[in-house]
């Protein structure tokens, strides 16, 4: 079984190689998706491979001419990768209306890479409006037409339903993986968990699912480390490997997360009994809580509180991606909610291209000493 785990970890370390391998074997189109909440089912049903673009650790050079240093480091890295040719295997890009940085990067993209096909997925801001579902269903129809031009194949209802089933299974398996981490943290390291999540962002789902199904029962039984001293929940956009490593070095363990590149991707299922596009729209409209989605009830604090209770977590770490406005506006609300609930909360700030972790280590260590 160890080699099954290695399959995921190797893939996670070599996304470009894996995506090229798929492209060569399937002769299909690769669709690059900016974060977050892309209806991957539609792309899959059109016979293309959806690949999430979450930036990465690359030295920012040419992107500096388009996006200033005080812009989100994820979109800066995405822009840089396109300049460097890293995304050459990508045939089309999807820009959702997640935040100002992504929307404006889409405008920059249109000028800087005008030859590259691009679709703007402008979500309905008010998800509670009666017209939201109708609007989103229509938007998805436009998306299908755009994909058809690009890939030459149309996602019909039968193909959509099949993809929906595949992704529902995927989300269920990823939820079980999260459950293992919470109930049996001795089963896998933070590094392994990150690798599994990262591989899920670009591997074809049927392949991913069939291997994960084999792996899960083994993971439940696996014991590779001691019971953790401090149980933590991470919230934010994403957690770089270095941070997870420092937390574990200090005797902590992540038992659950509310990360955009993490558990937020696998919440809510798509109804398989109704018209596929309407079902996909309804899933999006029922998602939450997330800083990038309209949420007048401000449910993230209470959500984190119940997540801590369910997973017997001692504290929450808020990992703020520098200059992420949606997250920064959420923070004070969460802070007040968790203070009331008596749950300790640490705020740390990161950038994707960080090279020095000394000050972060101090904050994390002081927090762990405080909890001890």
């Amino acid at each position: 079984m160890e080699q099954y785990l290695d399959y995921f970890l190797d893939a996670a370390a070599n996304p470009v190689k894996e995506i090229n391998r798929w492209k060569e074997e399937q002769k299909g189109s690769v669709i690059g998706c900016l974060p977050i909440y892309i209806p991957e089912e539609i792309i899959d049903a059109a016979g293309a491979l959806p690949v999430y673009l979450w930036g990465g650790k690359t030295e920012i050079d040419r992107a500096n001419a388009h996006l200033q240093g005080f812009a989100c480091s994820i979109v800066r890295a995405v822009l840089e990768y396109e300049f460097k040719g890293t995304y050459d295997m990508v045939d089309g890009f999807v820009f959702p209306s997640t935040c100002d940085h992504i929307q404006n990067t889409s405008d920059i993209w249109a000028k800087a890479f005008s030859h590259r096909p691009k679709f703007d997925l402008v979500y309905p801001a008010n998800r509670q409006s009666n017209y939201a579902e109708q609007y989103l269903t229509e938007l998805y129809r436009e998306f299908i037409s755009w994909l058809e031009v690009l890939t030459g194949s149309k996602a019909d209802d039968d193909a959509l339903l099949e993809s929906i089933k595949k992704y529902n299974l995927h989300r269920r398996l990823m939820s079980e993986l999260s459950e293992i981490r919470a109930k049996s943290p001795q089963s896998l390291t933070g590094r392994e968990m990150s690798g599994l999540v990262k591989a899920s962002l670009f591997l074809p789902k049927d392949e991913y699912n069939s291997r994960l199904i084999e792996l899960l029962p083994w993971l439940w039984e696996r014991r590779i480390r001691e019971k953790p001293k401090t149980r933590l929940v991470l919230t934010g956009i994403l957690a770089e490997q270095e941070i997870i490593d420092i937390i574990e070095e200090l005797g902590g363990c992540i038992v659950a997360d509310d990360l955009a590149r993490g558990a937020r991707l696998h919440r809510n299922q798509v109804d398989e009994s109704i018209e596929p596009l309407a079902a996909l729209a309804r899933r999006h409209l029922s998602l939450g809580p997330c800083s990038t989605l309209f949420d007048p009830g401000k449910g993230r604090g209470p959500y984190l509180e119940s997540l801590c209770r369910e997973t017997e977590a001692d504290a929450v770490i808020f990992i703020n991606m520098k200059f992420c406005e949606p997250e920064e506006f959420d923070y004070p609300v969460i802070k007040t909610d968790l203070e009331k609930a008596g749950i300790p909360l640490l705020f740390i700030e990161v950038e994707q291209q960080m090279t020095s972790y000394g000050q972060l280590r101090t904050r994390l260590q002081a927090f762990m000493e405080m909890l001890a």
Partner: protein, 266 residues
């Protein structure tokens, strides 16, 4: 007699404190060379010389500060947050808030009984409002760092420095000077801008008296005064300002030594 030692390795300076029986400060040494230099070794050697002790007579040593992880001559390492808390209550038992401004870090720490850390906040994004900020400003003005405090006190019409960024604030300072504003008024404005930033940090954890101010910047009376006005409460600047973290580490070291001894007896 039991001697314990605390070594605080900062970004700019290294501090060492030797403590007798967890109660009496025997020696302190501050060397202006921080992590990545021979500063820590020199601080330890200097403190040992002042205490007339050899390294083998130190029962337990705790390292803290930015360079604690790579320093290998200590029995244990602890974060500077915990050490500043412990040092603060050693110097002022009623301390409930510590404001520490070092070379690259500014921290506000909320304390419970015995110096236990209840909460803390640190500067984010950049070094504005830290010791390094003051150094850059002193350089731009052409005055030694140590004279800024006294200079600012002569101000009659404080200028406003609005930039939070060190680089932009520097050019703001230069343009104020170019506009013939008095140096002392500009200095007072610099102190005020630090106070504004630090006060925000303190409010994030909630102010509770008594408030201790430590770290190199606490030696600047102008910043202390500006901060007292902002926070509307007096600040206590303790005897061991810069060495507070090392002192806390030495206090921890004594507690650890005693705990180990008890475990041996059992």
């Amino acid at each position: 007699m039991t001697y314990t030692m605390g070594v605080d390795i900062g970004s700019i300076t290294s501090k060492c404190v030797i403590l007798r029986d967890g109660k009496v400060v025997t020696a302190t040494a501050i060397i202006r060379a921080g992590t990545g230099s021979d500063g820590p070794q020199r601080a330890v050697a200097e403190a040992l010389r002042l205490a007339a002790l050899s390294r083998s007579e130190i029962a337990y040593a705790v390292a803290t500060g930015y360079g604690r992880v790579t320093y290998d001559d200590a029995d244990e390492e602890l974060s500077e947050i915990a050490c500043h808390g412990r040092g603060a209550v050693f110097q002022e038992p009623l301390a409930r808030t510590v404001i520490d401004i070092g070379g690259q870090d500014a921290k506000a720490i909320k304390l419970g009984a015995g110096g236990r850390v209840l909460n803390f906040a640190m500067n984010e994004k950049c070094a504005a409002g830290t010791g390094r900020f003051l150094e850059v400003m002193a350089q731009a003005l052409g005055y030694p760092l140590s004279e800024l405090g006294a200079l600012g006190e002569k101000s009659t019409e404080k200028v406003s420095i609005s930039s939070t960024c060190t680089v932009f604030a520097e050019s703001e300072v230069i343009s104020h000077l170019a506009a013939n504003r008095k140096v002392e008024d500009v200095v007072a404005g610099i102190h005020e801008s630090i106070a504004r930033r630090i006060a925000g940090l303190v409010r994030r954890i909630g102010l509770e008296q008594k408030v201790l101010m430590t770290g190199g910047v606490a030696q600047n009376s102008g910043v202390v005064k500006a901060l007292e006005e902002r926070l509307e409460c007096p600040l206590v600047v303790p005897v061991y300002t810069q060495a507070n973290g090392a002192l806390g580490a030495a206090v921890f070291a004594f507690a650890k030594y005693q705990k180990n001894k008890e475990e041996h007896v059992e």
